[in-house]
């Protein structure tokens, strides 16, 4: 069975209403964990099909999805899926494009990932005065080729590259302070890196802070104050709130004229990552919040159809195993006049700096609530006073967005798992406990 054979089979089953996807990937991963070193080399093939079966005159039809690790298995899975019960789903307007010959498929040769372990280990030790140490490190480099075709004549291909990793560090209290001698705390960080210039120092500082600060045992000294979120924390908050911008209808608090501070822009732009989304719609920059007002929303084909809008190119397909879904692809805070992170810190009169999260950010989007547990430092008069082992900021998401009074120029992106980015973020007031 070939790509062409599957196209014909889908056209016979659901004339004019199908989509076919193939991904081949090749990656190498270096994993270092407690003295064991592992290299994993993976060559993977994935296929997926989505089709709407039923009367072609009807606007809705039975939507089914099948995924498999070979063309032959996909053909069998399509037959099996056709026997499963399915509800009616509005058939979206599949994107059209002139036929284009697919790009060559031979995967580029990939070398073993760089061994960042020794450098990262030394940097963590230096950043924590020897208190924190690298526990695990997994780094991966890979390349993938995607091909997407549909019943409307679309046939696009693209190559994607990835260089990312996960590291963890453990800090142990060697003095009779804070949580007590011998107490430990661990921290984990997911990151992307440039294989040519990996920023080990920045990652080391992040891990050292996240593992070391909880050992201080000190609670937040203030119940309210300014809140300075370092980029990793601010990006996690944005990633948690991001689903509010997806699909036809957001929560009511987002439709107010002043949904965010006037100086804040929220943008999604995956142009630097991929030319197409997982449904073959061209990637474009979407300005979501401008001058404090929501000016656009994100759609994939299905949510766009439901809202009577075209897709904005946000049919995300992180794996061939799942059908595309409406999701941000590279969302970030953008300041109209970004400031240096040091300037933002010096402008904190009394507040907390969130250096790392100690639990995932929790949000209740319909109820307009958020809760972020973090570790960091207290600041008075622009000067750091001391560590804060754990604090919790909670309140209304709408107030958090409206109270942003500064965005740093130190924009960084983090896999969450879609890319979310932010510079240092200054919130004029937050409640802590």
């Amino acid at each position: 069975m070939t790509f062409e054979g599957l196209r014909r089979a889908l056209e016979r089953r659901a004339p004019g209403r199908w989509e076919l996807y193939r991904k081949t990937s090749h990656s190498r991963e270096r994993d270092t964990c407690r003295g064991i070193s592992r290299i994993a080399e993976r060559s993977e093939e994935g296929w997926a099909a989505r089709w709407w079966e039923g009367n072609t005159e009807e606007p809705a039809a039975a939507l089914r999805f099948a995924a498999a690790s070979s063309a032959e298995m996909l053909a069998a899975a399509i037959e099996d899926a056709a026997r499963l019960p399915a509800g009616g789903d509005p058939v979206p307007d599949l994107p059209a494009r002139g036929r284009k010959s697919p790009a060559p498929e031979a995967p580029a040769p990939i070398e073993d990932p760089p061994d960042l372990g020794p450098a990262l280990s030394a940097a963590i030790s230096a950043a924590s005065a020897g208190t924190s140490s690298l526990a695990t490190l997994a780094i991966r480099v890979g390349v993938a080729h995607e091909r997407i075709a549909n019943a409307n004549g679309l046939d696009v291909s693209q190559a994607l590259t990835a260089a990312d990793g996960v590291a963890s560090a453990i800090a142990t209290n060697t003095r009779e302070t804070g949580k007590g001698k011998g107490s430990s705390a661990a921290a984990r960080a997911a990151f992307r890196f440039d294989p040519a210039r990996p920023d080990v120092e920045r990652l080391a500082r992040r891990l050292a802070d996240a593992s070391l600060l909880p050992l201080s045992g000190r609670a937040a000294p203030f119940r309210t104050g300014q809140w300075l979120l370092e980029p990793a924390v601010a990006a996690a908050v944005l990633a948690a709130v991001a689903p509010a911008f997806c699909g036809g209808r957001g929560p009511s608090w987002l439709s107010r004229e002043t949904a965010a501070s006037p100086g804040v822009r929220i943008v999604d732009d995956a142009g630097a990552e991929a030319a197409w989304d997982g449904e073959g719609v061209a990637t474009r920059r979407m300005l979501l919040v401008e001058s404090g007002e929501v000016v656009a929303r994100l759609y994939d084909l299905r949510s766009g159809k439901a809202a009577g809008r075209p897709s904005t190119g946000h049919g995300a397909r992180p794996s061939f195993r799942e059908p595309p879904r409406c999701e941000p692809r590279r969302i970030f805070f953008e300041g109209s006049s970004p400031a240096a992170a040091e300037t933002l810190l010096s402008s904190v009169r009394r507040g907390l700096v969130a250096r790392a999260l100690t639990a995932p950010v929790r949000v209740d989007l319909p109820a307009d609530r958020y809760e972020a547990e973090f570790t960091g430092v207290s600041v008075i008069g622009g000067r750091e006073q001391g560590p804060v082992a754990g604090a919790r900021a909670s309140g209304r998401i709408s107030e958090l967005l409206r109270r942003i009074e500064g965005i740093g120029s130190d924009l960084q992106f983090f896999p969450m798992p879609f890319l979310a980015g932010s510079g240092t973020l200054l919130v004029e007031r937050a409640a802590f406990d």
Binding site: T24, H26, D31, C33, R34, G35, I36, S37, R38, I39, A40, E41, R42, S43, E44, E45, G46, A62, L63, R64, F65, A66, A67, A68, S69, S70, A71, E72, M73, L74, A76, A77, D80, A81, R83, L84, P85, A86, G87, D89, E105, A106, P107, A135, T136, V166, I170, K179, S183, S184, A185, A186, P214, R321, P323, A359, R362, D364, R369, E371
Partner: protein, 437 residues
């Protein structure tokens, strides 16, 4: 899988010349069917068929793993060649799978049965039925080949419970191997989930004594014992426990993958080893570690080498927590609790091994006042430190053991595996509680 196992094993023997070296090939074929149901109507069904093969060589503290798509003998040879640094088959393109097995036919029984169950016992719902069938094959140097298969059923989502005070969305999850009386158990779980209840009052933060009922103590022990005793786990407050008593002598906790009636059970682990039950706590003292072939040392693997997927290396991981019953009735334990919290369902748990801090999330609970069940409490978290929690366990355990069917999938380092457990009612003093906001 139709391989020439002897030929593959001969190639692997060359890769593992020393007695301590490990060389193996692991192949998996799986079919997953997933159907959403909303108020009795099906949504968009999904079917996934995958086949993958990984070859592994481990020697002198270094490991190399090569994965290719496909589960035929050609894929096994391609994975071994990649491991040897030779050019993979078809110029690096993944190798096609072998003959696919049928999948939808296996699901038809559930597709027929579930709508009737839902219509009768929980007519308003947003649930997803998931049926997973996996076949695995392992060939290793100097060991006999092993084949094994598992079929698992999960139903997860929201059940809408109607009451005089208005509709209420309740989280629902049910995980079980597809065998025996599972449909009857699911029916019971649905009836309980959809039953009318009083309006909850918010949880009040602070220290509290807790009775973990209806098997949900298995989640606590999964977090604080199983994860910390996985042989490759980071150091935890239990690492230095030695032979010191940690908890009451009545408490025996073991991890038993051989319990095939539980979601985490299997006949062979993913390295082909027959599993054995491992005592995690015996007579109040810390027991042994859960090991795979790499971490087993002289005593060898305990049969806990598990892979989240064919593309992932095996790790020592927990399977089924089994807690031995005591002698007290549920009523006696509620009386013994006096004032505190009665929790019969925990829907999520986590632990940070290095600090020993754990957290258990519940959607609903009952306050206990003067030895009697009182008002309903809304969603919250129980948390504490693992050694303190073990010290806080009362020496009287419930006499009935319940499978904890809400415990189903466990993620560690992003690798997700089926797990489960069973436990009697367990009374723990001195935990902390906080409401979810």
């Amino acid at each position: 899988m139709d391989w020439d196992d002897a030929a593959i094993a001969r190639e692997l023997d060359k890769l593992a010349p020393q007695e301590d070296d490990i060389a193996d090939v692991f192949a998996e074929r799986l079919t997953e069917i997933s159907i959403p149901w909303r108020d009795g109507s099906p949504g968009d069904p999904r079917i996934r068929r995958e086949a993958g093969t990984a070859a592994r060589r481990r020697a002198r503290g270094a490991e190399r793993l090569a994965f290719v798509s496909g589960a035929g003998e050609e894929a096994a040879r391609a994975a071994v060649r990649t491991l040897l640094g030779e050019k993979p088959a078809r110029s690096g393109r993944p190798v096609a799978a072998g003959t696919p097995e049928t999948g939808a036919a296996e699901a038809s029984r559930w597709v027929r049965r579930l709508p009737a169950l839902l219509a009768r016992h929980a007519p308003r719902h947003r649930l997803r039925l998931r049926i997973l069938h996996a076949e695995r094959h392992v060939v290793a140097a100097r060991r006999p080949p092993a084949d094994f298969a598992r079929r698992l059923v999960s139903v997860e989502g929201i059940v809408v419970a109607a009451s005089r005070l208005g509709d209420e969305d309740r989280l629902f999850s049910f995980h079980a191997p597809d065998a025996g009386q599972v449909a009857d158990e699911l029916r019971t779980a649905l009836v309980e989930a959809a039953a009318p209840r009083a309006r909850p009052v918010p949880a009040v933060p602070g220290a509290i004594d807790v009775l973990l009922a209806r098997g949900c103590a298995a989640v606590l022990f999964h977090e604080i014992l199983a994860h910390t005793l996985e042989a490759d786990a980071e150091r935890s407050p239990l690492s230095d426990a030695g032979d010191a008593p940690l908890t009451v002598t009545d408490l025996d906790v073991r991890d038993d993958p051989r319990r095939l009636d539980l979601f985490g059970g299997y006949e062979r682990d993913d390295e082909g080893t027959a599993p054995r039950a491992v005592k995690l706590i015996q007579s109040g003292r810390l027991g042994s570690r859960l090991a795979d072939r790499s971490t087993g040392g002289r005593s060898g693997s305990t049969g806990h080498g598990r892979r989240a997927a064919a593309s992932e290396p095996p790790q020592p991981r927990s399977a089924n927590i089994v807690v031995t019953a005591g002698s007290a009735s549920s009523e006696e334990l509620v009386r013994r609790l006096g004032n505190g919290l009665w929790v019969d369902e925990i829907h999520a748990g986590s632990v940070e091994p290095s600090s020993g801090v754990f957290r258990l999330a519940f959607q609903r609970a009952r306050r206990v006042s003067r030895g009697r069940l009182a008002e309903e409490i809304g969603a919250g978290y129980l948390y504490g430190e693992m050694r303190a929690a073990l010290r806080g366990i009362e020496p009287v355990l419930g006499r009935e053991v319940h499978a904890c069917r809400t415990l189903g999938w466990c993620a560690r380092d992003g690798r997700v595996l089926p797990v489960q457990g069973e436990a009697p009612d367990v009374l723990v003093r001195g935990l902390s509680m906080r409401p979810s906001r």
